[in-house]
Subunit: 163 residues, 2 copies
Amino acid sequence: MSRQTGPKAGKPEPLATPMEDTDIIDFEIIELFFFAYRDFVSDPDAILEKSGFGRAHHRVVHFVNRNPGMTVADLLETLKITKQSLARVLKQLIDSGYIRQVAGPEDRRQRKLYPTKSGRELALALAEPQSRRIERAFEGASAEVRESVKAFLSGMRDRQKAD
Amino acid sequence: MSRQTGPKAGKPEPLATPMEDTDIIDFEIIELFFFAYRDFVSDPDAILEKSGFGRAHHRVVHFVNRNPGMTVADLLETLKITKQSLARVLKQLIDSGYIRQVAGPEDRRQRKLYPTKSGRELALALAEPQSRRIERAFEGASAEVRESVKAFLSGMRDRQKAD
DNA sequence: AATTTATGTTAATGAGGCTGACATATCTTC
DNA sequence: GAAGATATGTCAGCCTCATTAACATAAATT
């Protein structure tokens, strides 16, 4: 006797059929994206935990290395977090000697952010396994395929709001 | 007078040159992937906060809908989290009537997980904006391009450990 | 009968977000 | 020059979602 007693049973019946791709919903790519990102961030996570840092530190180190001289406001805009959230992480990176602040030459209220030498090294060390993973995922792919993937990833972003 | 006083200055000099793509490091795709995922999860996040749920609930609802009858152990393996982390989230989803548990027909220690009708509806509602975003990113792409992107995302995953 | 397995539960901890409120220095505007 | 706006920093408290550790229970296996 299973519980398949029909719609008369007191409790709502559980649904046994899997949710499949439909005309409108592409579950396959949703899942691929989830797994890809989960594993993509696991490499740097493993490196970071040795220094007592986390994912948040990684993001800050990455963007400051990519855009030296960016301000705190720039970073908040990029990461889409609040300044209170950033503060703790940024303070730790500055105290640990990975990032330095310099007052803006024009506007002295600004704090322009720069990596130190060890900050640059950390960013490279974190990017290295991620880059190897990307290379592996592209194994033998043509330049056209690489461009298609970049176009796809770029298309996944929010369109910037007109201000 | 800048601080460009050369290597003799007391403190380590900040590095002003941006970190560019090299032969070995592909920063461009690393960043594209970060932004794409950040925005990809922002759609369901906005829906979930209305019901007081979070990202963790989304993941559970999604996978139970995709694989009805999966066990708690299956889910832990898929999400790569601990059972204590899963417990709270799963309990809330069961109490709210989105997921049901049924003792395994062969092994009665198992709890097989199924979506209810409203659980199915929730999963679809969460997937819908993500799927629209994917469609937008693929706008006018050929079937070959879609396959290439899927192959790329799939290649980004960890290789499964042989047991 | 003893052990292993699948699951559940409780308690303490930590990372990394959030809001709100307020402080300070500096730039802009009247 | 005073007033206001802006960029940043800081304090306090809260939330979600993850962690480890320890223990409980029921059911399967040996």
